[in-house]
Each structure stands twice: as structure tokens, then as C-alpha cells.
């Protein structure tokens, strides 16, 4: 390490949150960049995707654009944000479009949000954009509403790090008009989009989720700020409630079942809202290495890793009776609420699982048990 001259404080992160392509996230981000530049701040655009939209292109006028870096991958010429160039340029603020983007293999980091963390660490403030459907913990609800499985997600803890989350709002009707006029996509792609994702009811539901999410983000930041500097300002009602309700500790039960990912997301989301601690625990038979099939072990491992990626502490327990082992752990660790997946309805082969869930429900006479629905299965109908 070189003896760095007095380290710059971490940059500020501002996220412009929308609910679909075309609501004006990028436009708003650039508008804010222009405003900050006008105030005398040193602003550059690190990455920007115009999608050929004239209004947006006009907004970049006068802003310094850092050229993209060319990357050759399997003979293909691809472009990515040029992090080394931005770090060398070292601006005060950098606008970075499409926060959830996955980088081309061969770049230093897999995800654009990881690139943004590097900029923030270097003391560069970042303005960025994302849609509500990219928030990890909402993945299942989004699929339920839109029938679309979103693959590029951002863990909630990354969004929590933002200093500010600003909503880019537009009524669905206006969005649909824009789509029909070909502002958002070319006409052919627009027709496709109109028939699928861009249905008025789907858009309204996503928009509602975005509004509530931003309200939540505002609430969390305001409570933190008030807790720091204005304890007297805390709403007396909510304080009384907070005093009366002891803080919760949530345990998420990890299995090899494909429903586990949804369970983890749901548990994480509830824990975040309740400001509760969160564990993910799996129970294996003693000296499991011999008994468990390779695929089962791999699935459990993947789920544990997924939980850790969402900043959930994980544990592996061993015991002959999984329900007893789990409950014993909850009692010793002061867990107040257990999250389990709903057992599948099918008959014979899964009887064991069904018994496990009901065993926990029956045995957990002194704690709360939340049996989480498999929304994935329902949405398939």
C-alpha cells in the first residue's frame, strides 16, 4: 500500500428508482447531474444508455462523457464502463446508468454495482438508476405480478447503502403512450412489450411497489438521522411502540428445496422492515457427508451462499431429529420467529418434509412460526 495522502471520505450514492423502462430514470439522473454541474460541482458521466431517446440524449449536452472501454470476449467486441479511466479522472461526481447490469466476463468485477462500490470507496459520489423489479427481496413478488423472472438483481443491503433513493414516477397510461409512439423501443419490440410486461395492470402494481419502497427507504433514513441528531424529534407514538415490542430475531430454515431462495428473500425483507437480526440455518443428519446425495448437498450449499450474499449469517447444525435440533437452536439463540417453506402438496415422496414443517409448528409452542407460501408455484398456473 502506498502512503495515501489524507483519504477522501466515501462518496455519496444516489439511486433513481423506477418501475419500468421509459419512466424517466436516466433523464432524471442527467437532469440532476446538470443541476450539480451548474452549482459548480465536477461531474462526469461514467456510463449512459440513451436507447435512442431524444429527450434523454438532449439532457447529456454539456456533460463530460468518459468513453467506454472495449473488451474482447470470445471474439466479440463489447463495451463496458471504464473504471480505471474514471478513477484516473477522479471527478467529484459520476453518473452511472443501469446499476443492476452484469459485466462482460473478463472485467475485474462481475456486477456494475460492484464497480460503483469501487468509485464510492475512492471518494467519488455516484448517481445511478435501477427499477424496482431488480431489488433482490422483491424478486418473487415481481414474478408473481409480471410473470417475468428478473435475473439481474441487486441485494437489498447495497440499496441500503444509498444516501438517497429518488423515485422516477410516470403514470402507466403516459408510459404506454410513449411506448406506442415508439419513444422507448423500436416499433416491433414495442408491440411485443405491450403484449407482455407492459400491461396497464402489471405496470400499476409495479409502480405501487416502487412508491412504497421509496417511502420505506425515506423512512429508514429519516429514522436513522433522527436517531443520530434529534432523538427528541422521534415520533412519540412509534417510539412507544418500539419500546413495547422487543426486537425480533428471525431464523430462516435452509433446505435443498427450490423454494428456499424465495424463503430467504422473504425472510430478509421482513427482517429489514422489522429491523430484526436474521440467521439462516440448515439441519443435517449427523456426519452427513455419507448420507446426503451430491445434488442435495450442492443445493444446500448454494442456498447458504445465496443467504450470505444477502448478508445473512449462516449456520449448519447436525442432529437426528431436525425439528428438535432446530428448536433447540432457536431457544438457545433467542430466536423469536422461524421462517419455513410451505410443504408441497404432493403425496408420498415428500411426506417427510410435510411432517417436518408440522413438527416444528407443533413443537414451537413458545415462538412464532411463519410458513411462507410458495408463490413461485402458484404463478406458474
Amino acid at each position: 500500500m502506498s502512503a495515501a495522502p489524507s483519504k477522501r471520505p466515501r462518496g455519496r450514492l444516489t439511486i433513481f428508482l423506477g418501475y419500468a423502462a421509459g419512466v424517466g430514470k436516466t433523464y432524471k439522473m442527467l437532469e440532476e447531474s446538470q443541476r450539480l454541474k451548474l452549482q459548480g460541482h465536477d461531474v462526469v458521466v461514467g456510463y449512459f444508455e440513451s436507447h435512442g431517446r431524444q429527450d434523454t440524449i438532449a439532457k447529456i449536452d454539456g456533460l463530460e462523457l468518459i468513453p467506454r472501454r472495449r473488451i474482447t470476449y470470445r471474439g466479440l467486441e463489447l463495451e463496458e464502463m471504464d473504471i480505471p479511466a474514471i478513477l484516473a479522472r477522479n471527478p467529484e461526481l459520476c453518473a452511472v446508468d443501469e446499476f443492476p447490469h452484469t459485466n462482460v466476463p473478463g472485467t475485474e468485477r462481475r456486477k456494475r454495482w460492484e464497480d460503483v462500490m469501487v468509485l464510492l470507496d475512492a471518494g467519488i459520489s455516484v448517481l445511478t438508476t435501477m427499477n424496482i423489479q431488480h431489488l433482490e427481496s422483491l424478486n418473487d413478488q415481481v414474478r408473481e405480478i409480471s410473470k417475468v423472472q428478473v435475473r439481474e438483481t441487486i441485494p437489498d443491503w447495497v440499496v441500503k447503502q444509498a444516501d438517497e433513493v429518488i423515485l422516477a414516477d410516470l403514470p402507466p397510461r403516459a408510459l404506454l403512450n410513449r411506448l406506442q409512439r415508439g419513444v422507448i423501443y423500436g416499433h416491433e419490440k414495442a408491440q411485443q412489450a405491450l403484449e407482455n410486461f407492459f400491461k396497464e395492470s402489471t405496470l400499476s402494481a409495479l409502480r405501487e411497489m416502487a412508491l412504497r419502497q421509496v417511502a420505506h427507504e425515506v423512512d429508514v433514513r429519516q429514522a436513522e438521522a433522527a436517531g443520530d441528531s434529534y432523538p427528541a424529534l422521534r415520533d412519540s407514538v412509534s417510539e412507544a411502540v418500539a419500546d413495547a415490542e422487543p426486537s425480533e430475531r428471525i431464523l430462516i430454515h435452509i433446505t435443498e428445496s427450490p423454494a428456499t431462495a424465495a424463503l430467504i428473500r422473504r425472510g430478509r425483507r421482513v427482517a429489514d422492515y422489522l429491523k430484526a437480526e436474521c440467521f439462516a440455518v440448515c439441519v443435517l443428519p449427523p456426519s452427513a457427508s455419507d448420507d446426503l446425495s451430491k445434488t442435495v448437498r450442492a443445493s444446500i450449499q448454494r442456498h447458504l451462499e445465496f443467504a450470505r450474499g444477502l448478508r445473512i449469517e449462516t449456520r449448519i447444525l447436525e442432529g437426528d431429529d431436525p425439528a428438535e435440533t432446530l428448536l433447540d437452536f432457536t431457544r438457545r439463540n433467542g430466536v423469536t420467529q422461524i421462517f419455513l417453506s410451505k410443504p408441497p402438496k404432493a403425496a408420498a415422496p415428500v411426506l417427510g418434509r410435510r411432517n417436518f414443517v408440522m413438527d416444528v409448528v407443533r413443537l414451537a409452542k413458545d415462538r412464532q412460526v411463519t410458513v411462507v407460501a410458495d408463490r413461485r408455484r402458484v404463478s406458474a398456473t
Binding site: 444516489t14 440532476e32 413478488q141 408473481e144 405480478i145 429518488i166 423515485l167 422516477a168 414516477d169 410516470l170 403514470p171 397510461r173 396497464e200 395492470s201 400499476s204 402494481a205 409495479l206 409502480r207 405501487e208 411497489m209 412508491l211 412504497r212 421509496v214 417511502a215 420505506h216 425515506v218 423512512d219 433514513r221 429519516q222 438521522a225 433522527a226 441528531s229 434529534y230 424529534l233 411502540v241 415490542e245 421482513v270 422492515y273 422489522l274 420467529q337 410451505k342 410443504p343 402438496k345 414443517v357 408440522m358 409448528v361 407443533r362 414451537a364 409452542k365 413458545d366 415462538r367 412464532q368 412460526v369 411463519t370 410458513v371 411462507v372 407460501a373 408463490r375 402458484v378 398456473t381
Partner: protein, 371 residues
């Protein structure tokens, strides 16, 4: 979801729908830009929309501007036709007669919450807007959270300021479109560069609270519109966009804990709280008293309370839950071999878990078990 169900509409329903469609077609459309404080840029967004509509060939006029509009808004106004306000005793009012005579497609009104001067047709500006809409003129207008009547008490406790003018929330909910204009709180504190850190921090805190209220208000309006839209389309659909918690009240359950937790979770998720009790015959006096107390507690917690009747309590609860878009059911732990539900062979809680498709079930310990 599995709950999507295309209902065959009845003739009465169809007739009502046709009438509503006709009304909607002849009426102007109302669009409202909602901001949480002045400075977020509502006026700009509104006039910019006017400019865009005009450039696409729309017939747009401006019928009201704010006493002072920022430079970028002034610039937009240069390209728009303005029907000047009537001013009586220094109080501006929309010149409704002029607007009706001119009869544009779209009328822009910056500032919905104004009291009209004496002698006007209506006491409030939003009533003038009603006339324009009825005449088939679409209106695009702007309002600040502090002028929404039902939210004023809340806003006043935060800001310590009282404003006189107001618009009923019902009018805003009935708008065809609402657009929330969101911006960082700094936008709303111009000229505070010289203010000390404590003042700034206090301002930020107040603005954040207003922002949260405005966002939730907009979300509620969107939810309301979504429901109306689905109803018009004849779709009974349950969406998970909003958390809806259902507390099941039974005599042995720890109802007060469930209601408290339900209320808290509903508040944190900006969701709704429901409570149901499935009527039973032959309750002893003590159980009846408990139920009455629990129902009162649920009402006090502002839950939507309903008493259901039916032979099969779990079936009633499930039917209610699926019909109301419930996302989580709270129910008390049932002791095997005892309690009101023991006459069913399958443990009722187990049955609820198995049959509540798409709904989470949260089981609460009985009071005795916690102590």
C-alpha cells in the same frame, strides 16, 4: 396468480359499465402532479407536459400560474397560450367562462388549492376544475401535499404551519392519473446556504417525513385505481403489491399480541390490517367476553373487522383471505387435544397451512406458552 378469475358480467353490470364508459368518454381527463413540498419541480413537470402535448398537435391552454414561477417555467410559458386569471381584490381565480368559451382540449392549472374570491361561482378552485371536466376539457394540475385536506393535521404537526386552502382527498383519488414529483429534500430548501447545520438538519427531517407521506398517499391512490381498473375489466385479481394482514380471532389465542404485531407490520409495510372472527354457538360466558374484548381491540387498532358465519371456520377464513387479497394470515397455536377446533380430525392450523395457496401463515404461541 391462481386467483385470476374472469367473471361473466351480469346484464346490469354491463349496462352500468356502458354508462360509466360513456361518462368517462365525454368527460375531460384529470391529471394531478403531486409534490411533497414546494421546490420539487411540479410546475416545471406540468408545463413541460403541456409543451410536449402541444408539440404533438394538442390544443393546450394555461388557465392559472403561480404568483412567482421560476425562470425555466417562465421559458415554457412563453410558448403556451395563457388565459389570464380574473383578479378580484388581489385574489386570482380561473376565468372559467373564458376557458369554456375557448374550449381547449387540455387546460393547465398550476396550483389546485385556491379559494376563489367572493362572488365566484364556486368557493374553491377544484370545483371550477370539476366544471371544466364536465364540459369535456381535460385538466392537468398541480398540488402540494400540505393542501390535501385529510393530510393537513399530520402535515401541520410536522411543519408547525397552518395553511388555509385545501382540496378533499376524494377529488385527488378520483383523478384519472396522478404523478408523484419526487426530488431530494435539498430542492426544497433554496437560500438556506447560510443556515446553521442544526436548522438544515431539522428542515431535512421535516421534509423527509412529508416525502414519506406523499409517497404513501400516491401508492394508495395507485392501489385504488388498480382495483377500479381490474373491476372494470371484470378481473377478480389478487395482487401482492400491498401487504394485507389477516388476524384470526379465536377464544384461546393470544389476540392482543397478534393484533399488536399485525398493526406494526401493516404500518411498517404501509399495508392493511384485517381481523375476522368465525361465529360459534355455545360459547361459555368467559370465552364470549374474550371474543368481545378482542373484537374491540382489533377495532381500536384500526383493523377492518368482520364476523363470519359458517360451519367450517378454516374454510370461511380461507375464503375471506383469498377474496381480500390477504398476503399473511396470523393465527394462534392450537394445542392438540384441546380448544375449540379439536373436533376436526386434521389439525386446523395444519389445514390452513396446506390450503392457503399464495399466503404466508404466521402461527403465534398461546399466552400460557410465552409466560
Amino acid at each position: 396468480m391462481a386467483d385470476i378469475e374472469q367473471r361473466r358480467p351480469t346484464p346490469e353490470h354491463l349496462l352500468q359499465q356502458v354508462e360509466e364508459e360513456e361518462n368517462r368518454a365525454s368527460r375531460g381527463r384529470l391529471k394531478i402532479f403531486l409534490g411533497y413540498a414546494s421546490g420539487v419541480g411540479k410546475s416545471f413537470r406540468m408545463f413541460d407536459e403541456g409543451r410536449r402535448r402541444r408539440s404533438r398537435g394538442g390544443d393546450v391552454v394555461v388557465a392559472a400560474t403561480q404568483p412567482t414561477e421560476p425562470d425555466e417555467v417562465q421559458k415554457l410559458l412563453c410558448d403556451l397560450e395563457v388565459i389570464p386569471s380574473r383578479v378580484v381584490d388581489g385574489v386570482p381565480a380561473i376565468d372559467v367562462e373564458q376557458v369554456l368559451r375557448r374550449h381547449p382540449q387540455v387546460c393547465l392549472i398550476d396550483g389546485l388549492a385556491y379559494r376563489n374570491p367572493p362572488g365566484s361561482n364556486h368557493a374553491e378552485r377544484w370545483q371550477d376544475v370539476e366544471d371544466l371536466l364536465a364540459a369535456g376539457i381535460s385538466v392537468v394540475t398541480s398540488i402540494n401535499l400540505q393542501y390535501v385536506k385529510e393530510r393537513q393535521a399530520q402535515v401541520e404537526t410536522i411543519r408547525g404551519k397552518v395553511v388555509q386552502d385545501s382540496v378533499p382527498e376524494e377529488f385527488i383519488r378520483a383523478a384519472d392519473e396522478i404523478e408523484l414529483v419526487d426530488a431530494p429534500p435539498e430542492y426544497c430548501t433554496p437560500g438556506s446556504a447560510g443556515a446553521d447545520a442544526a436548522t438544515l438538519s431539522l428542515q431535512q427531517h421535516q421534509l423527509s417525513q412529508l416525502r414519506e407521506i406523499a409517497l404513501v398517499l400516491a401508492a394508495d391512490v395507485v392501489d385504488h385505481q388498480l382495483e377500479a381498473y381490474l373491476k372494470r375489466q371484470g378481473i377478480e385479481q389478487v395482487y401482492g403489491a400491498q401487504e394485507r394482514i389477516l388476524v384470526c380471532l379465536t377464544p384461546p389465542s393470544n389476540a392482543s399480541l397478534m393484533i399488536r404485531r399485525g398493526r406494526r407490520q401493516a404500518d411498517l409495510f404501509y399495508g392493511d390490517l384485517y381481523a375476522v372472527y368465525v361465529q360459534q354457538n355455545g360459547l361459555n360466558a368467559a370465552d364470549q367476553l374474550t371474543i368481545d374484548q378482542n373484537l374491540a381491540a382489533a377495532r381500536a387498532a384500526n383493523a377492518h373487522v368482520e364476523i363470519l358465519t359458517g360451519e367450517d371456520p378454516i374454510g370461511c377464513i380461507l375464503q375471506f383471505a383469498h377474496g381480500h387479497g390477504i398476503t399473511q394470515i396470523f393465527i394462534g397455536h392450537t394445542q392438540q387435544g384441546g380448544g375449540w377446533l379439536s373436533r376436526w380430525k386434521v389439525n386446523p392450523v395444519e389445514r390452513l397451512i396446506m390450503e392457503s395457496d399464495g399466503i404466508d401463515v404466521r402461527i403465534f404461541p398461546t399466552e400460557a406458552a410465552v409466560q
